[in-house]
Symmetry: C2
Subunit: 209 residues, 2 copies
DNA sequence: CTGCAGAAGTGATATCTGTCACGTTGCGCC
DNA sequence: GGCGCAACGTGACAGATATCACTTCTGCAG
């Protein structure tokens, strides 16, 4: 855990010691599901390395809907606040890249909430940020057309991964936006014609974003 | 505040005393705006009587988007967690009916969070519930057509107000669903033909819901 | 009564996007 | 090389809904 002090720098010493004692570090490979929709939550987690995405799954068909990313240093809002009730999760978390997580059993976190001011602030600010992000997502679905949403999605992905090259198939993108491959294909063409992206094999490169 | 003990029954004695000391009861009239999008938050509030609705406003045009209701006993998630940073609010709260609120300055709530286990639980469960509700809203916008969304909206309104008669114009409903009056009008007609509602002057009555 | 305003009903039309059908491209593998 | 497969491109079409134009209804003020 010593390698990640910079990510955890806002936590006080006593809390860091407890984290080290009670938590464990887990390595996951790209594509692995960390939190399954409908499964109970027994742990919370903080991302140390890699990228994790959260998405909502539709009840009926298998279609999913992208919510937001967790970068190193980010905690999972839902599980942070899940508390000892071990409520079933309504979202799915999946590792986008290979990732390293600090996993902490939930029975400790309520005490931390009272005993460590820095933990309290972490939980509050995490929740608040995710809440805002959900609101932003709602804005987009409710008010924007697919072209705007696609650009927003690409920008967010690029920022989360810190790369201009996005290696996703149109099919994958379509799933996350709850659209269809053909629509994404056409919109990508428009973006390319506008000089905003360059189409690659199995991906796109963002130009001057 | 004595009249509202049943709403606050989950709070411990010491906390109730502090609430009485630090908070104040505010009466608002129907239609009054309690929390303006973009304004800083200095207080949190718990609804004691009446109904308050929260909605998101689009940046560009004035269109709004309904999020959820606060019933008596409910707290405002956003302001609960807003904490001493006094962050600007991204949503607007408005009294639907005449209402009575317990307003509490935010400088006290962080201490309560540590000192009163029942307050902690209140905040956590409030936040969690609202988060789930936002997710449900996303589901509806993303996956459902307007007819399903209208039925869902009517059901929620009816439950929140505890009445089968909904006194809203089609124009108002259209705004909250980010649709248009004509579309709501046509869908209402369908609902009426299906025997699910009875159309009234300036409203509808839900039949056997 | 008359006229007006707010609300609602309705047909025509446009746009966005989802879906279907089919063809193309690129790449690995036998 | 030839085959198969996955991704992609594209035209045609359909459905949902936003928008426009116009009418109708109802209650109210003058």
């Amino acid at each position: 855990m010593e390698n990640y002090r910079h990510l955890l720098r806002d936590f006080e010493e006593g809390l860091l010691a407890e984290m080290k004692e009670k938590g464990r570090i887990v390595d996951v490979s790209a594509g692995q599901t960390l939190l399954q929709s409908g499964q109970p939550i027994r742990n919370t987690m903080i991302v140390l390395e890699g990228l994790v995405k959260l998405f909502r799954e539709s009840d009926e068909d298998g279609s999913e809907f992208f919510m937001y990313y967790l970068n190193p240093g980010d905690g999972c809002a839902l599980s942070l606040i899940c508390d000892k009730t071990f409520r079933a999760s309504s979202v799915t978390a999946r590792a986008v890249t290979e990732a390293k997580l600090l996993v902490i059993p939930l029975e400790h976190t309520e005490n931390w909430m009272r005993n460590y001011r820095t933990w309290y602030h972490f939980v509050v600010s995490t929740y608040r940020r995710r809440y805002e992000e959900l609101l932003e997502t709602i804005d987009h679905i409710a008010f924007q057309n697919m072209d705007v949403r696609l650009e927003f999605y690409l920008r967010r992905y690029s920022q989360a991964l810190g790369t201009k090259v996005i290696e996703l198939t149109n099919t994958q993108i379509a799933q996350e936006l709850n659209s269809s491959r053909e629509v994404i294909s056409r919109l990508m063409k428009k973006l390319a014609e506008a000089g905003k992206v360059r189409l690659l094999k199995n991906g796109v490169e963002l130009l001057k974003w």
